[in-house]
């Protein structure tokens, strides 16, 4: 937690109002271009110790993502946050804003809440581009009114270009990790840190990582690559270090990820263009299919399979975030299709309790690896 607070403090010292965003695909470049500092409050496992505050507000059957996010915003971070942004995602998240803003108000903090509705209708079913454009324009107006900031097309395109650069680096680093030249955990660490730093800083961190691969090896293959088994991991969040270490110990390497906060976030990004309403129309329409983007259900399997085949992975490990309906409704279908296509899969369920009980999945991972070797 201290680590993230320090990062927020550093951002605050830059003088930019901090906008806490969730879920994973907010219009970051837009915020950046308007002189705001967006932080994506996601995947805070490992950074937030305990969920005592969150548990006073959320029932025990809430996923860890939402509980950590709530804990974070309502704890010491609350003094740093100037606004909260959310677009419609799952049934859990849509109920959080009033809890968060209510508690912040009770603590004497008037934190505005910005909301955008992302149309969830399949694009070939309902023409909703006008609706989304209006949402983006309204968001710009609301941000301007609240923070006295101005929108500039030029700055917006510059910001998009920066996020493009970051995306290229993320993909390059991912490739290095897949090739075993870099530890997956190092990659994961830089990605998580990136959520709490300006895009310029994230770019520098990624450049640094690509320039010095030899230095990093946590989670990297200890075996010659031809002895390891490449697997694709899929889920909302990356696996905990204990899971990655268990994979490494069992002779497996992450050949590709289909993780919401990693590849799904960066796989596709449109070219810069002056009108943010147009840009975000493309951004969301062409996004890599994620179970949280309900309008993309029909594209999910093909995209998933492309990623798997291109990576050369031999199997899939699903990292199930307990209580995440979006993911869990899809697992049986994906598992069945994978089996038909000759790809074994393993489903691991990560619950908030696993924060304390690391290593609970070791034996299943080892058995899975053995099974793959025996094929």
């Amino acid at each position: 937690m201290m680590n993230l607070l320090k990062k927020l403090d550093a951002l605050k010292n830059d003088g930019r109002p901090i906008i806490a965003c969730f879920p994973l695909y907010p219009p970051l470049a837009l915020f950046h271009s308007m002189g705001l500092a967006p932080v994506v409050v996601w995947g805070l496992r490992g950074h937030v110790s305990g969920t005592e505050t969150a548990d006073r507000h959320l029932p025990s059957y809430t996923c860890s993502v939402a509980r950590h996010l709530t804990e974070f915003i309502l704890s010491d971070a609350r003094d740093f946050i100037d606004g909260i942004f959310m677009y419609n995602a799952c049934d859990t998240l849509r109920n959080l804003p009033e809890i968060l803003t209510g508690q912040l108000a009770a603590a004497g903090r008037d934190v505005p809440f910005f909301h955008m509705h992302l149309p969830m209708t399949p694009r070939d079913q309902t023409e909703a581009s006008g609706y989304l454009k209006n949402e983006i324009r309204t968001l710009i107006t609301n941000l301007s009114d609240r923070f006295g900031v101005k929108f500039s097309s030029e700055k917006f395109q510059n910001s998009v270009a920066l996020y493009q650069r970051m995306r290229e680096l993320v993909l390059a680093v991912q490739d290095q990790a897949a090739a075993g030249r870099l530890g997956f955990l190092d990659f994961a660490e830089v990605m998580q840190a990136g959520a709490f730093m300006p895009v310029e800083g994230h770019i520098r961190a990624l450049e640094d990582l690509t320039a010095r691969p030899g230095k990093h090896n946590a989670g990297a293959s200890k075996l010659p690559m031809d002895n390891t088994i490449g697997v694709m991991i899929s889920g909302i969040l990356p696996p905990q270090p204990s899971v990655v270490n268990a994979m490494t110990a069992a002779g497996m390497t992450v050949a590709a990820d289909d993780i919401a906060s990693f590849y799904r976030s960066y796989a596709v990004m449109p070219e810069p263009e002056p009108d943010p309403a147009e840009y975000y129309g493309k951004f969301y329409d062409d996004h890599y299919p994620c179970p949280t983007l309900l309008y993309m259900g029909d594209r999910r399997w093909a995209a998933f399979m492309d990623r798997l085949r291109q990576s050369g992975a031999r199997a899939v490990i699903f990292i199930g975030e307990k209580f995440c309906e979006y993911e869990y409704f899809e697992f049986p279908y994906l598992e069945k299709r994978l089996a038909e296509a000759g790809f074994p899969s393993l489903r691991i369920e990560i619950s908030i309790d696993d924060d304390q009980h690391t290593g609970a999945h070791d034996s299943r991972i080892a058995a899975f690896s053995e099974m793959l070797r025996g094929r």
Binding site: R56, H57, L58, P59, Y61, T62, N88, A89, C90, D91, T92, R94, N95, L96, P97, E98, I99, G102, H115, H117, P119, M120, T121, P122, Q125, T126, E127, A128, Y131, N134, P291, L294, Y295, G297, G320, K322, F323, E325, Y326, Y328, F329, E330, F331, P332, Y333, E335, K336, E349
Partner: protein, 418 residues
């Protein structure tokens, strides 16, 4: 126990439901265009077509749960990989479909030509219907209803209406039938009239002792799911309201020695209706109202009837899309609940946390505190999965309910001695 079985309206209810399922199966067998819908997809639209019928998987799941076979159906879904943490309605439905409705009390639902889900009550419905879409190869139309934290906005209403037009176009293309908007208008008018009687029926909860229990109202919701937009819908609720009124006037009420008037927040505990109703009556307590049944036919933030002005039926249907508890935020929910608590003279609120239904349950801790602060009404949090009896513990539940009643009693004594 809820008195519906012994009443005319109780008998009529069974007939309405039985006939609706028979009609669905018979017309489907004769070639009608079959749609499976999420519970709040406005079925009035389908009545604009000559030969379109609809089935409601959630309603069918509730029926399974009420008949005591919810857990059996859930297990079938769990055996094919669906997590026990998923909504029990969804598990029941997926379980039912997995063996072609082998144990269904209604011979299941006929195979659909089209699936129509929506995002208003919950967005997981879309994922659930996607399961069928993928397995059956049936097209899936997603109605996207923006969640609202304040009153529904014009831009959202227009967006919803546009989707209704798209839905009509899709059905016309797929079925080869035309939609007659005059018929849709008539259907909306019937629903509106029936809801008028429904609200009158719920209003008998204002009597002391209450003329109804919330358990009656849970069961009596069924026509809303299988027959809305029809003359029969109106007739049924007229019968229900008039009969309930006459009984109340004659002193024939469900809990004659009612001492504690409670309010329920969440979906009906389908597998516990009899037991919970009887258990509470033995404690001289009656759950007289519920958010679940009161929200029908209103708009977000109020339980009052939102009347149809006879204008554009699609605009009316869009305007009421956020009325159910789940598609709007905590402040609006609290506003409507506070009004009901005052109007019904509620002594205590039962917040029923429901593991299956996060959209209903997630804000309940905060809502409980808000109600205590705003109204000073005691409340209790219990845990009841609405359709999966395996996630229900009777002993714990009644211990808490008894504690609530004790608490109310204590507050009363303090007030009296003050």
């Amino acid at each position: 126990m809820a008195s519906f079985q012994k009443t005319e309206a109780g008998r009529n209810l069974s007939l309405v439901v039985k006939d609706a399922y028979m009609d669905l199966h018979e017309r489907a067998a004769r070639g009608a265009f079959v749609i499976w819908i999420a519970i709040n997809v406005p079925a009035e639209i389908f009545l604009g077509f000559d030969d379109v019928v609809y089935g409601v998987p959630e309603s069918h799941a509730a029926l399974n749960a009420a008949k005591g076979i919810g857990a059996l159906q859930c297990e079938k879904a769990e055996r094919i990989g669906y997590s026990m943490d998923l909504c029990s309605y969804a598990r029941i439905d997926i379980g039912c479909v997995s063996d072609n409705f082998a144990d269904s009390p209604t011979f299941g639902l006929p195979r659909p030509h089209l699936l129509v889900s929506n995002t208003n009550n919950c967005s997981l419905l879309t994922k659930w219907f996607d399961v069928h879409h993928r397995e059956m190869g049936v097209p899936h139309f997603i109605l996207d209803v923006p969640f609202c934290y304040g009153p529904q906005q014009e831009k959202d209403r227009e967006y919803i209406v546009a989707q209704f037009h798209d839905l009509i176009r899709v059905i016309e293309t797929m079925s080869g039938q035309r939609c007659d908007m005059e018929k849709v208008k008539q259907a909306v008018a019937y629903t509106d009239e029936g809801i008028g009687w429904w609200k009158k029926f719920l209003g008998y909860a204002e009597h002391r002792p209450s003329g109804i229990t919330a358990f009656d109202s849970f069961v009596q919701m069924a026509p809303f799911l299988v027959a809305r937009g029809t003359p029969r819908f109106v007739e049924h609720y007229r019968l229900l309201a008039k009969e309930t009124g006459a009984r109340a006037a004659a002193g024939d009420v469900p809990v004659p020695d009612e001492k504690y008037r409670l309010f329920w927040d969440n979906i009906a505990p389908w597998h516990q209706l009899r037991d919970m109703s009887a258990g509470l009556a033995a404690l001289k307590a009656n759950i007289v109202g519920a958010t679940y049944t009161s929200c029908i036919g209103s708009v977000e933030g109020s339980f009052d009837r939102y009347p149809y002005d006879g204008g554009d039926p699609l605009a009316m249907l869009a305007r009421t899309q956020n009325c159910y508890v789940c598609p709007h935020g905590m402040a609006l929910r609290g506003k409507a609940m506070a009004q009901a608590v005052k109007r019904l003279g509620i002594d205590g609120i039962v917040f029923a946390g429901n593991r299956s239904c996060k959209p209903y349950s997630l804000t309940q801790f905060d809502q409980q505190r808000k109600m205590a602060q705003a109204l000073g009404v005691p409340s209790v949090m219990i845990e009841v999965d609405h359709a999966d009896v395996r996630k229900y513990n009777r002993e714990n539940t009644f211990t808490r309910l008894e504690a609530l009643i004790e608490n109310i009693g204590m507050q009363r004594s303090v007030r009296m001695s003050a």
